[in-house]
Amino acid sequence: MTTNMTTLAPSASEKFTQRALPFILFALLLIVIPFIGVSRGTLTLFNHIGINIVFALSYNMLLGRAGLLSFGHAVYLGLGGYFCVHILNWIADADGSGFWGNVPVFSLPIFGFAMGALAGAIIGWPSCRRAGTAFAMISLGVAELMSTAAFMFDSLFGGEMGISGDRMSGPKFFGLSMGPIEQVYYFIAFWTLVGTVAMYAFTRTPLGRLSEATRDNAERVQFIGYDPTRVRYLVFIFAGAFAGMAGGMSAVQDEIFTPDSLSLIPSGAILIATYIGGIRFFAGPIFGAILMTYMGSNLSDYTAGWLLYLGLMFISVVLFVPDGIAGLVFGFWRGIRSPGRYALIGKWITQILGLALVATSVIVVVEVAYRWSDGYGDVFAPFGFDLPHNGALTWVIGTLPLLAGILILRRVKRTESEA
């Protein structure tokens, strides 16, 4: 019997390489980043990436793990964040005395976590009785309700301007004043790691496993002795809590929260990021969060069309790559180690070529269109080619590679299904 058990369960070394090692590498990476001489702007970007990683992972507790599509997850980040901005002000007002006077700013994500859990517990109660479309609609209604109602309570939400605080108040924690961006970076890095490890651990708890079982087959869950509504509700509270934790991280990083942070827009953004990253893999949302944050901060400097690119990417993922980036990455990893790797590499190269052709056309069309639409007479000139909206070359590059690319991709697909 014990031999069966040992053959079934992964060995100690497997456990280490599959579970502990990725987190150790992740932690090392987080520690090393500030030492490679990155600029303040880049550190701020990393901070936002950290916040979004926690947010996206918490979202995936719902979408990927529990199968619940929410259009209002930002509500929990927003409420946790607002609570923490208020705490920042209470800490500043307390001036070192009383309870709040002794709370280090470093601990704010814990309060955000609690607030998110509380909000999840209250809002989740009516929402989680239903799954599927009903759940999605309720989450949408709640998000709109919260973001419109927030404008009515200025003392809580601060109206259009929102509420701001000062992260440098309160007692120091391990000598961190939270003033310089490097210190904020370590704060974010610490909580990103805590959140990631905790959410991974959650997937391995009985409740985490039951949430997946409920996603797969809510009915059967009843016949193994569990109430699917209760499973969803508990998972929902945890998802809200971790989103609130991300809110606490964001409160310290940005020192401001506005009612917009509760609205459908950030909720939709995290849905897109998580899905592009790949909802079936734990690491998927991490990829998605990194990509989206990077695009939002850097790509937006280069092109007005970054939102359109993000939307196109999202639609393409929904249509063609339901497992997202993580699916591609792990598929590549498996493929490269399989005996048929040479055939696979050939296929991949063809696919990349096809994709590149499609992308060339799409980018040209989008960029030319944006410049034409602005009406400033700006001309898209990549690598020194002038591509005005009425130039013949523009139209050739905008159409021919697209058609060629689609043909190539379709051919690959056809040979694949024939094989």
């Binding site: 019997m1 069966n4 391995r204 016949f223 002795g225 569990y226």
Partner: protein, 258 residues
């Protein structure tokens, strides 16, 4: 007198105007293997759905080990010691075989909705999972996603999940439907082994299986039980023979001969 494991007293179930179950009375003793047979549309699956808490009876009482369970939600009935399988495989398709069985064990192993424990750290849970998989012969496929299993293996997994929790009353809804002859033989052996010492209620069309397994048989026709008794009594019952026409009546005889 010992208390029955399962007792149905004058149970009715209607869907709108359609009266599917009309006054069902059934008593299954502890440790008995009881088969329910009957023509298509007789209400066998409805009967299972009523007992297991999937449907709420319109009227009547359902007692599990003497406790009223009629109208209770399915998860509560399960916790009181009743487990069932489904006619159409009803498994957690995206999870591995091992995870399917492990999830089915969680409640009976006292894990509740715990979020502070690692499923991998409970030695007992691992051993019981391995034991169940070994017993049903799926241990080699433990790490296969359930959706990729062959049809017969999915049926086996369905049975494994049903017997995994320590329920003492097991309901199997057509466990061998769609299986080949050899697969059926294997499944019957498996059911016999796995339900040792437990109470078994089985709905089945394959008369070979029914007569091979059951201690007693009830015949359900149009929502009523027209006969209950030992296999040989049922075989000779003229009411049963008239309810089963043509091929089925022959099957009854053949099943008896097998």
């Amino acid at each position: 007198m010992t208390e029955a494991a399962l007792q149905l007293i004058d149970v009715h179930k209607s869907f709108g105007h359609a009266k599917i179950i009309q006054g069902l009375n059934l008593e299954v003793a502890k440790g008995e293997r009881h088969a329910i047979i009957g023509p298509n549309g007789a209400g066998k699956s409805t009967c299972f759905n009523l007992i297991s808490g999937r449907f709420r009876p319109t009227s009547g009482r359902i007692l599990l080990n003497g406790k009223e369970v009629g109208g209770k939600p399915a998860f509560e009935v399960n916790r009181l010691g009743l487990s069932r399988s489904f006619q159409v495989s009803n498994i957690f398709a995206n999870m591995t075989v091992r995870e399917n069985v492990r999830c089915s064990l969680l409640y009976s192993q006292g894990h509740g909705y715990a979020f502070w424990r690692n499923v991998g750290s409970s030695r007992e849970l691992q051993e019981k999972t391995a034991w169940v998989l070994e017993r049903v012969g799926l241990i080699d496929k433990a790490h296969t996603p359930a959706a990729l299993l062959s049809y017969a293996d999915q049926r086996t997994l369905e049975i494994a999940m049903t017997i995994a929790g320590d329920a003492d009353v097991i309901l199997l809804d057509e466990p061998t439907a769609g299986m080949s002859h050899s697969e059926t033989e294997y499944a019957v052996e498996l059911i016999r082994k796995a339900t040792e010492g437990k109470t078994l209620v089985i709905v089945e069309h394959d008369m070979g299986v029914v007569f091979g397994l059951a201690d007693r048989i009830s015949v359900l026709v149009y929502g009523e039980i027209i006969a209950t008794g030992k296999p040989e009594e049922i075989r000779g019952d003229p009411k049963v023979r008239s309810a089963y026409l043509g091929d089925d009546a022959e099957a009854l005889t053949l099943g008896g001969a097998a």
